[in-house]
């Protein structure tokens, strides 16, 4: 069996992972990124809309600065974020955008003079300043006070990913693609690397490293309807929770995006609404401005998704063979805009729907989109529980997003966090010496090999991996969706516990030889069900509504009892529920909890004396 040594090992070659690797390489350390797919196919490349940084170059961004970006981010999070981290983020984002420009990103630039833009279906005019010509341009996104989203047409993620991967090639950062990490090598105190499975041959391989980072993206595929790529399956998270000592933060905070297309849940960017697209109901009438007079379509995603669902429940949805949906209207933006700045949207509509958005409405519904929860880290990106383990990007709960992240803040987070944490890792590597115990490594490899053998030989049973996966997805869809309540969540937890038992009895139908995709799915299934339980059980305990977590039976945001972060552990493999602990949402308070200015504003303030409403166990 092959053993590969490196100073810095990154599980994931998306923007967060590669950015951190470049930083470590700049400091003179060897770095390897593992990835299921070639780096540029990582989900970062699917991001269309853009990334936020308060450059303030556009006339509509005038007066913008890190303070305003910070305030938007904290409000967006519904005060669930770590404010120290949000501050670090807002301050660093402009520098990182400029750095990306230096490295090769073809950002759209300011063109001085008159141009028109749309808001709420109406046409307006703006005049870009002469002295800003050629600086990085920005567009509007939901939940932001200013135009702050830097973009390259609507292929921002793709363009930034290309540049970052080029930078890795230049700096000698290796990317081992078609390689899947399946277990951490650790002794309960320190992490020494991973056992991985080669997706070219099916063989196991050991990676040993002084520092290991989880930058494996989101885990939306535990839901049946999601905008996420098929590789966003949480496999890397499950190897962390399997250690028993690394907690997941805020797993109940799941973002649903307002505009997934029906039926395939492919995303059309928030840029559609940012650029002036409107949402229409079955009567082709606008409705968002009735619920949100001020922000309308441009309130934060949690708010828009909720009103859309509400509006459909009130009987204004469009019936279709795939369930109800609403319409997105961008026709008034005109052909040039749609085939230029929204070309990906145009292509998605024509190739996947057979809809021409220049003349026709786009069928949309809210769908799972982003995981605010993930491997809990401190502000330096170090994971709780294990020395030498770090996390960044969507996989992490670094926690600048709290209970709802703003559009454009995630892609920006990947490079900002990757840079900051990469620097911290270089410092850590500077002062660290590691000894690799062969017995520890051999034990882990043996354990993984026997798991594989048991699956291939159906030693524990012959449950069908795809059927159990479906049972898990359906349970979450029914019970832990946009609107949640006690009854639904209890049923969901019970169904997931059943799925957990079944997941332990999975056996393959195929022979498991070589790369075998069925084996790959089976290896992570039990862990996925455990993650689903962290989502549902965490949501059941959290008896309030905050950001994307919306309880119909506890409609207020309860700062008195719930201004905290859930930490979910899976302490023993045989447990049937996660162990939940809580910590304060933020130690540093720059902006005390208040009204977001959009969405509903029922708040039980932290100063309210204790009445009913219990604290989670």
């Amino acid at each position: 069996m092959q053993t590969i040594y490196t100073d810095f090992l990154v599980v994931g070659a998306g923007l967060a992972g590669e950015r951190a690797a470049v930083q470590a390489a700049d400091a003179g350390f060897s770095a390897i990124c593992l990835s299921l797919v070639p780096a540029r196919r990582s989900h970062s490349s699917a991001a269309q809309g853009g990334m936020q940084a308060s450059l303030g170059n556009s006339v509509m961004g005038e007066g913008d600065c890190p303070d305003v970006h910070f305030a938007d981010t904290v409000k967006g999070s519904d005060w669930g974020c770590d404010q120290e981290v949000a501050r670090l983020f807002a301050d660093t984002a402009p520098i990182e955008m400029r750095r990306l420009a230096h490295w090769g990103v073809p950002w759209n630039r300011v063109v001085p003079g008159k141009s028109i833009y749309y808001k709420g279906g109406k046409q307006f005019e703006k005049v870009e300043a002469e002295d800003k010509e050629g600086l990085i341009m920005a567009r509007s996104f939901g939940g932001t006070a200013k135009w702050r989203t830097c973009y390259t047409s609507d292929g921002t993620g793709h363009a930034v990913m290309c540049t970052m991967d080029n930078r890795c090639a230049e700096k000698g950062v290796e990317v081992h693609d078609k390689t899947e990490a399946i277990a951490l090598i650790q002794d309960g105190e320190t992490c020494f690397g991973v056992v991985a499975r080669c997706l070219r041959t099916g063989e196991l391989r050991v990676y040993l490293s002084k520092a290991t980072m989880i930058a494996a993206g989101g885990f939306g595929r535990i839901y049946p309807n999601t905008t996420n790529a098929v590789i966003c399956d949480g496999g890397a998270h499950t190897m962390c929770l399997n250690t028993g000592v690394v907690p997941m933060g805020n797993m109940e905070a799941v973002q649903f995006h307002p505009t997934g297309i029906v039926p395939t849940d492919i995303l059309v960017t928030e840029g559609c609404r940012g650029d002036g697209g409107t949402l229409l109901d079955v009567n082709e009438k606008r409705f968002m401005h009735e619920y949100e007079p001020d922000k309308a379509e441009l309130a934060s995603r949690d708010v828009v998704s909720r009103w859309m669902t509400h509006h459909m429940r009130e009987g204004h949805g469009v019936k279709s063979p795939y369930g109800e949906h609403l319409w997105l209207d961008i026709r008034h933006l005109g052909e040039e805009h749609i085939t230029g700045k929204l070309r990906e949207v145009y292509e998605i509509c024509t190739s996947f729907l057979g809809v021409d958005p220049i003349h026709q409405l786009i069928p949309v519904r809210p769908t799972q989109h982003y995981s605010m929860g993930g491997v809990r880290t401190n502000k330096d990106g170090a994971a709780y529980g294990l020395k030498g383990l770090f996390a960044a990007g969507e996989a992490a709960c670094w926690d600048m997003h709290g209970f709802n992240r703003l559009g454009g803040n995630s892609l920006a987070e990947t490079v900002v966090a990757g840079g900051i944490i990469g620097r911290k890792i270089a410092e850590y590597l500077e002062g660290s010496e590691t000894e690799f115990k062969t017995s520890l490594i051999n034990d882990e490899v043996r354990k993984q090999q026997s798991r594989i053998d048991a699956l291939v030989n159906c030693t524990n049973g012959s449950e069908n991996v795809y059927k159990v996966r479906k049972a898990m997805q359906d349970a979450l869809h029914k019970g832990a969706n946009i609107f949640r309540n006690q009854q639904g969540l209890e049923a969901c937890v019970a169904e997931l516990q059943e799925a957990l038992i079944r997941s332990k009895n999975v056996g393959l139908r195929s022979d498991g030889k070589g790369v075998n995709p069925e084996l790959a799915s089976a290896l992570k299934l039990e862990g996925q069900v455990k993650m689903a339980l962290m989502v549902a059980y965490g949501a059941l305990q959290r008896t309030e509504s905050r950001g994307s977590h919306n309880r119909e039976d506890f409609t207020a945001r309860n700062d008195r009892d719930w201004l905290n972060r859930t930490l979910a552990y899976w302490k023993n493999t045989d447990d049937t529920l996660p162990t939940l602990e809580y910590e304060p949402a933020t130690e540093v308070v720059e902006i005390p909890p208040g009204d977001r200015g959009y969405g509903k504003s029922e708040i039980i303030s932290a100063d309210t004396p204790k009445g009913k409403g219990k604290k989670g166990k």
């Binding site: 797919v37 070639p38 699917a46 450059l55 073809p106 050629g134 996947f352 195929s510 070589g514 995709p517």
Partner: protein, 245 residues
């Protein structure tokens, strides 16, 4: 009743000593809005869980799912079955190394290409975190992005006669990459530097100009223009070099 689709799918698992390359038939009932992504996943989940193929974004943006669909390289995720006849033949992309069934190794191929073309901005300027960004004309930015839209699916390479004949030919995707840096004002490489990379039979002079590449490119990249542009540039550079000698 909807159509019954007949799929002929190439099967071979190089990691299984018993496996021989062959075609296997699967039958599936067509559903509304069915794409090859939906069809292949159903075949795997319901009929043969060992079937290997690659999808990632399933939205036509990552380039994972290139394969030969009824004789033509294309992206499987945005191919709708309703646009195909009732009998569908699927083969892995040629040129690239086969991983198994419909899955090929595009990653290694493209990684070699980055090294060969030095696919990054060459500049001696240092980044200054305290300064404003360097200005750039929006037209230049848009033109660069236009070429950077390549998703590295490998379709153009697989459709290219030259690439099939000689494995050292760098292919349309690589030439397009060179053009991307050539027009970037931030890249300080000279035409002579590029000539070192592509001014030979492995590069621009190996291209026979038959343009199968542009026909199959799912992102509709203007490959023809780029090839012409490079041929002219490199032709002139070549003449200059001859006269200098």
């Amino acid at each position: 009743m909807s159509r019954l689709l007949k799929f002929n799918i190439f099967r071979y698992n190089p990691e299984d000593t018993q496996s021989e390359p062959h075609m296997q038939e699967f039958v599936l009932e067509e559903t509304d809005s069915m794409t090859l992504f939906i069809a292949l996943n159903r075949i795997r989940e319901e009929q043969d869980p060992s079937l290997q193929f690659d999808f990632c974004c399933r939205a036509g943006i990552c380039g994972s799912c290139g394969m030969v669909i009824n004789g033509r390289p294309g992206l499987a995720c945005h191919t709708k079955t309703r646009d195909l006849p009732g009998e569908i033949t699927l083969l892995p992309l040629p040129v690239f190394k086969l991983v198994g069934d419909l899955s090929v190794d595009t990653g290694s191929w493209f990684r070699e290409m980055y090294t060969a073309t030095e696919s990054w901005i060459h500049t001696d300027k240092e980044f200054d975190p305290t300064a404003l960004e360097e200005r750039m004309d929006n037209k230049d930015a848009v033109a660069i992005y236009e070429l950077e839209r390549c998703v590295e699916c490998g379709c153009c390479i697989s459709a290219c006669g030259t690439a099939r004949l000689r494995d050292d030919f760098i292919g349309a995707a690589a030439l397009n990459r060179v053009a991307r840096f050539l027009i970037d004002p931030r890249d300080q490489r000279s035409e002579n530097d590029y000539y070192e990379i592509i001014g030979n039979d492995m590069g621009i002079f190996g291209c026979m100009g038959l343009l199968a590449c542009e026909d199959v490119c799912p992102k509709h990249l203007p490959l023809q223009n780029q090839l012409g542009f490079l041929r002219r540039k490199m032709g002139i550079t070549s003449l200059k070099r001859i006269f200098k000698k």
